[in-house]
Amino acid sequence: MENKIQKTVIPPCARYDIENTRAWLSDMAKEGWLLKKDGFSFGLATFEKSEPVCARYSLQASILQAGPFDQNSGSAPREQILLNAEYGWEYIARRDQFYIYRSTDTDSIEPDNDPRVQAIAVKEVEKRVLASILPMVLVLAVNFLTNSSYGLSPAIMCAQLGLGIPVRFVVAIIIQAACILHEANTLRVLRKKLSHGYELKKDADWQKKKTNTRMWQIVRIVPFMILTAFIVILLKLPDSGKTAIDEHALSAPFSTIEDLHFGMLEEIAEYPDSYIRKTANAVLDEGIEWREVATIKQPGGYSSVAVLQVTYYDAKSVSFRQKLFSSHICLDERRFRKAGDIEKKDLSDSFEGNMEVTAFMRRDSLTELIIRKEDRVIVVSYFLRGETHYMPWIEAIVRGFDNAGISTLRQSHT
């Protein structure tokens, strides 16, 4: 089998710049490089070495949306390929929303020889390009709604994921949306020209726009790189930056179910059915997450379930600490708004020292406790079924947090 010499290049023309793309492809043919069959992929163009030829290219807008199960998706529709073949135009490749045909016959009729009809086809592409912005708007809207309704406020998200990630995510989407709008505008300008009868130039000077195109190509890559990094970080998050607290010499810097449930160890020994399941306990870059679920067999035979979840942040600055604290309060206010029997109480006066304590309590149990103690913000969800005297528990939790905190844990680890 003959091995043809090939070369792959980054196109110097924007993907929706019909005029310059076809001029560039024709110039490449004159230099002895013919676009390879299906030679456009991942934004790159592949050429095969040939004798220098005078070839004309035509970029025909994809007027029909190919569905995901359409056999023609990815390639031009068969009807269009046949019609073009009758006129001496060979189907070569697809570049985004345009099908590329080539003819080496200088007398063959120009495929799009009615600019007003071509404007109709370009309008279809323009609509699809504009529609592609919708998923981004949706992602931003979902992101915003999730943040505002379910607790990932910017401050909390920054604390949990690191400051840069949520910001980079939004920036990436905005850049991507800007690129799409730029492309839609390019198509709109072209469509307007075509609808006024403008005929595309056969020998456009594509070199003129090369720098501009390169700049947009770089801009287009940025959001993809950011989003890829974002996904990689998210995928690696459960493993990276986490160290099991069990591995540390020190015990947890805060009360655990064992501490909170006074004398439980003896009871567990007495009632072997009692157990504590630690579902997560780790030192993260930004804080500690600690979750425990305990089924406790009480004297008298009845069992109770206790759930403790602690999120422990080392705030990096005063303003961030306050923001984090108020974000968690806002979040709980929203979360518990519909549950009429949950009451918010400011318990700061009950404790000495520079401490702010806000509790969200249901009639029969504590729901959530948000503590700002010096530079730390601690969010505690504690539930013990059947427990009604919550104040001793709150005191135990608040006082149970060791001042050494996360930094000591880190030091001991390093």
Binding site: E79, W89, D114
Partner: protein, 125 residues
């Protein structure tokens, strides 16, 4: 679901409808008919023809009736006939307006008598 009718019909579109009003045709037949009808004044390129057929299918002016081997045959629908008649009426109206304006201009220039005596074949419109 058929979309809203086309706002404007270009010359290529009009002749495509005209060709299909004579009976079912495949794409190449349509192009050849138009070339013959217009004495090669209008030669549809394959890209133009494909866009027109796709758009007409989308708005319901034509439908595909047969798939003979690799060729698809199309026929005009009632909606398409209605659109063609509307376009014909519009063109007749344009022509009538043009003739009327032209006669008024001639009356102004040569007077009513001269206008009546003038040879309509010499009318540039």
């Amino acid at each position: 679901m058929a979309k809203k009718p086309l706002d404007t019909m270009t010359e290529s579109m009009f002749y495509t409808m005209l060709a299909l009003s004579c009976g079912p045709r495949c794409g190449i037949d349509i192009a050849q008919d138009i070339s013959r009808l217009t004495d090669k004044r209008i030669i549809l390129g394959p890209g133009t023809l494909y866009t027109i057929l796709s758009k007409f299918l989308e708005v319901g002016y034509i439908r595909q009736v047969d798939l003979d081997g690799r060729k698809r045959t199309y026929e005009i629908t009632d909606k398409g006939i209605g659109a063609l008649n509307d376009e014909l009426s519009r063109l007749r109206q344009c022509l009538s307006d043009a003739v009327h304006i032209h006669e008024l201009e001639k009356e102004k220039t040569y007077g009513k008598q001269d206008s009546e005596d003038s040879d309509p074949a010499l009318c540039p419109v």
